[in-house]
Amino acid sequence: MILALDLAKTALQIDSMTLAIDGRSDQVLERVINAVSAMKRLDPQVYAKKTQDSEGMFKWGTPVILEEPGKTFPPPKVPVEHKVIGVDGSHIDVDRHIPAHCYLINTGLVSLNYGPTPSVVMRNDPSLYFESEETFITDLHGSTDSMKITGSLLGAVRTVKEIDILRDAITDGNDDIPVVGLMDGTLIMLDLIRAGFPDYVLKQVLQGGFLSAMSDIRDLSKDKPLAIGSYISLPGTSEVVDALRLSVCPYTVSDCASHCASVSASHRPCDEVSHEILDRQIFEHHLPHGHRSPIFGSSSRMVEKFYGGNLVGFFYVNVGEEIARIEVPEWVYTDKEKIDLIHAVILNQCMLGPGYPTALMEAHEQAVISTSDRLFFLNSIEGAFESQGVKFYTSQKNRSKRLRWL
């Protein structure tokens, strides 16, 4: 009788996987090396023209190259006195096995003040949402459509809450010293787009929520040493790789369908510098410790469509233990001082971490909801209902998850 994950079987499968990966590593390395030299050779102007020309035909994304591609940027000195604010969040989704329709979001905020008089603020704020206007996104104009806030929509709502408290913390701080705000994960709310949410949802959550807060922060940052960004660990993106594909494509116009439709993957000309490799692999090979890559503009359509004023750029940085991807709004990447600030601070944070920005790690610890917390939450709801005289029913599934038979 299988009671839990059969770890023995899983272990074997993991072993097979690693063997397979290992076998391919030499090929990968070759492509990485090719990719690096391709990057060094890349002419931004040529690339820009080719991007335009191949519009609609090039199968992959084309990030904007904003700085000299082969260059690496050494770490600037981190200011002695500065503040880092990290935010993170977690949630308990709507549980269909309980009669109450509600969800819980817990945000964690850590503000670390460095300098001659260091200090720290650590908080978490759990909030329970149950009112209908809180648990649904309703179309305010026109139809009476509404979307239940759950799943990936809830994830997005949570992200909005995170940036809200970041903005509030920056506002309350009202500091003159350099301040860097950090979020965990991407600034690009892909979940919203991919899931095909209706416009009114995007409008309210993305524009009215996330980007509105972002703009508030932008306003606060005028003429101040204030920058924000997000930190992505173990990034799985291949946007720069995609740029290299375009760059090394032998065809003047990269019409992938015409030229390479019948060519199998890994045999196409661009595959030399890109097949099955990720951006981070390139920069692992190329970036010295502490250095950052040039800044690129996001190739996301969503960003183009919605993020005006807060366009998202990114760069990679070698924090020592890994290559991390840092996403920043345009009002950060267009300001050298702000970029240097965020670059230096992130490195310092990873050194103190170590290996991961301390502020984000602690914010995560503040935000996390443990299994026992989850159980407590459910039990509290049960208790509250029963004290009101409401019979509390659950489906068998939920029950069995909670009581473990011997």
Binding site: L112, Y114, S119, M122, T358, E365
Partner: protein, 190 residues
Amino acid sequence: MKIGEIIESDTNGFTARCYKLYEGPDLGCLIKAGTDNSVYGIVAHVATLGLDPSRRPITRGENLESEDEVYLRNPQLTRLLTTEIKAITVGFSDGMEFKHYLPASPPRLHSFVSICGNDEWISFSDRLYFLKSVISSGLPQGDDIIGSFVRQTSELVSDPVSYKLKAARSIAKFLGGDTNRLESIVRRIR
């Protein structure tokens, strides 16, 4: 003045978390929990640890000059680390006088813990029977606890040397002829 709060409590003793990191009472210190009908304990163990037991501290100072620098550079440590003390209960006050045996029930969780004031300390320690429970606790640091307690108490009285002698003699009687143990404790009283 309170220095911490009780986070665990049972018949034989209690654990308190200190409000400020590294600002806890010394080993052997006489502390009390609660302000009315206080319970008195002797600090038997002091530890600094992470608030979250699943997170273990890591080294942070390899490239730094001093420990102080580590704390300067990582302000979150003061919030993530805590000083905890464990005390052996040695008596209580019934409102009128000191009793040198265990109270009927241990102090409540979140009782405020403070170090006894000089007069209170001297008065409580007039008779030293309560040291017996420290002696028989079987703790490996038992002798150090007693030694530290006697040293600290002797500094509160006008004649430290004669107090130490008097205390050592009381302890000799409790030990009932175990001279080896007595020597170990006396070494720590000097």
